[in-house]
């Protein structure tokens, strides 16, 4: 048993969880939609990668310049045609709509692609690894997934913090009605946020499909892990989501080292423990806490 190795592998795995979770966090933070189809959208990304990489006969990475814009456009379309309309009918409607979308995607994928597990062609990267000392082996693929997650989260955080679009997103997240009142065009803001959320989900799906296998029902598990990463890290904090994802990954791998049967159980227990001790999450923003506690902005 090698604890250092387990922690390293767990952190790398956590990066993948964070990559899936950041879109979920963004969608909830800005539009107040808990997108129950988020995991299924990630799996759709994996299937799209499968179709494109077999069609062109190239590793799935080569198809990303086509795959990501398609996913972004799909997110835009979902927001404009579905989520945006659902939002006008109260808080429950989006939950039902995304739940229905999840079921539809899973069943359509079963019809179109059968239930056989699939994997993606990751090229030479998928098998390469390097050693640290004598006992630690790091897969280049895992490291790439982790670094990609860090890069995506950093880019998102910097964009939100320092651009005009980012300010408008945060203003909308704080107070939708007032944002509209002071001139923010809320619909384009929502549409781009949804586009980014689906594009990051699809990217995560490509890593899921390259590292392991996927089938039409994989999305549900993906959603649970992503959701737990968001809640542990704290709603509204992207860095929190990264830490939340890593906490999940480390727990899963370290406990799995002791007994594989308890790995996923331990992850869910961690989630419950955080929810009990710090219901707002570890890094939640003050605004989100106030909102969860039902207080308005200070007068």
């Amino acid at each position: 048993m090698n604890w250092v190795n387990s922690v390293i592998q767990g952190m790398l795995l956590g990066g993948q969880y964070a990559l899936i979770a950041c879109g979920l966090s963004l969608t909830f933070g800005v539009m107040r939609i808990v997108n129950l189809a988020h995991g299924d959208l990630a799996v759709c990304g994996a299937y799209l990668g499968l179709v494109l990489s077999s069609a062109f006969g190239v590793p799935v990475w080569v198809t990303l310049p086509l795959l990501l814009p398609v996913a972004f456009a799909a997110g835009l379309a979902l927001q404009v045609l579905l989520f945006g309309r659902a939002l006008r009918h109260g808080v429950l409607a989006p939950v039902l709509v995304t739940f229905g979308l999840s079921i539809m995607i899973e069943n359509l994928l079963q019809v179109a692609a059968t239930s056989d597990p699939r994997g993606l062609n990751g090229g030479a990267l998928a098998l390469a690894s390097f050693h640290i000392g004598s006992s630690i082996t790091v897969s280049w693929l895992f490291l790439t997934a982790f670094l990609t997650a860090c890069g995506v989260l950093s880019a998102l955080q910097l964009t939100l913090s320092f651009t005009s679009w980012g300010r408008q997103v945060r203003a909308t997240s704080d107070d939708l009605d007032t944002a509209r009142l002071v001139g923010v065009r809320v619909r384009p803001v929502f549409a781009t946020v949804a586009g980014i959320a689906v594009a990051t989900a699809a990217l995560a799906g490509v890593f899921i499909g390259t590292i392991g296998t996927f089938d039409p029902l994989t999305g549900t598990n993906v959603l649970i892990f992503a959701f737990e990463a968001v809640v542990i890290g704290g709603i509204g904090s992207l860095w929190g989501t990264l830490v939340g994802g890593m906490a999940l990954g480390v727990t899963q791998v370290v406990v799995g080292e002791v007994n594989q049967a308890y790995a996923v159980l331990a992850v869910n227990l961690l989630f419950l423990a955080v929810l009990t001790v710090r219901p707002g999450g570890l890094f939640t923003s003050h605004q989100a806490v106030r909102e969860l506690q039902g207080e308005g902005a200070p007068g």
């Binding site: 300010r167 002071v182 001139g183 007068g299």
Partner: protein, 242 residues
């Protein structure tokens, strides 16, 4: 600029009906605002003052009637289009974005700005009290400072018509005095103001015309110089109606 004669109407509201669901808040309201003027909008709680301002800003839809601004009909225009035409609202209760800094709040206000006539340095010049707080979160400021930020956010849109809803609510008289001095400075630059104010004396001092709403209807509309305080109070409480 001659201030004796009224200029052309900048804003012309005709027969405006506004509903919240089944509840009618405004009944056939007609108000005209002259270019460069300052209009005080007074009335009891629930008279429809905030509703009228929000309808002008586009946050509330009109069921019937029209809002004409600077020569064109804007009754159905969304808020961002009205802002880029020069209408900005300082909402009741300030409504700052609490997680954003003071400067970011102001920058969001410039998202659909009519022009770049109000860059940040000019805004900070007009509100020195918030210049030193530009990097602080808006939620950490005092009430007066927050109100100044709310006005600054509206100014960032470079408005020709500035709508102000109860800017003195909950503030110390000294702070309110400072805010009104800033508004007087704004008027001298040619801005048109429409002010909802509970303090009748202050409203009549700061404005040149007055509109009193009573239960969603216009009870009195006149130049400030031609009405007495008693007439306004009578209209305010609906006394002397047949």
């Amino acid at each position: 600029m001659t201030d004796a004669q009224p200029g052309p109407p900048l804003l012309e509201i005709t027969d405006l009906d506004v509903f919240y669901g089944d509840f009618q808040a405004l009944f056939g309201v007609s108000v005209s605002v002259t270019q460069g003027g300052a209009t005080a909008l007074v009335g009891a709680n629930g008279a429809g003052k905030t509703t009228l301002l929000r309808t002008i800003a586009g946050a509330q839809a009109a069921a019937s009637g029209s809002v004409r601004y600077d020569g064109s009909d804007i009754t159905a225009a969304p808020p961002h289009r009205r802002i880029s035409r020069g209408i900005a609202l300082v909402p009741e209760g300030r409504k700052l974005f609490p997680s954003l800094t003071v400067e970011e709040n102001i920058q969001v206000g410039a998202a659909a700005a009519a022009s770049d006539a109000w860059p940040l340095d000019r805004i900070y010049g007009a509100f020195p009290m918030i210049a030193t707080r530009r990097k602080q979160r808006a939620s950490t400021l005092s009430g007066g400072e927050q109100q100044a930020v709310a006005i600054a956010r509206a100014l960032a849109a470079a408005p020709a018509l500035l709508l102000l809803d109860e800017i003195s609510l909950g503030l110390a008289p000294l702070v309110v005095g400072e805010l009104y001095e800033t508004l007087a400075g704004l008027r001298s630059t040619g801005a048109t103001l429409m002010i909802v104010e509970q303090d009748l004396r202050r409203a009549m001092d700061a404005c040149d015309s007055l509109v009193c709403l009573l239960e969603g209807r216009v009870a009195l509309a006149a130049p400030v110089t031609s009405v007495s305080r008693d007439e306004v109070v009578a209209a305010y409480f609906g006394e002397g109606r047949s």
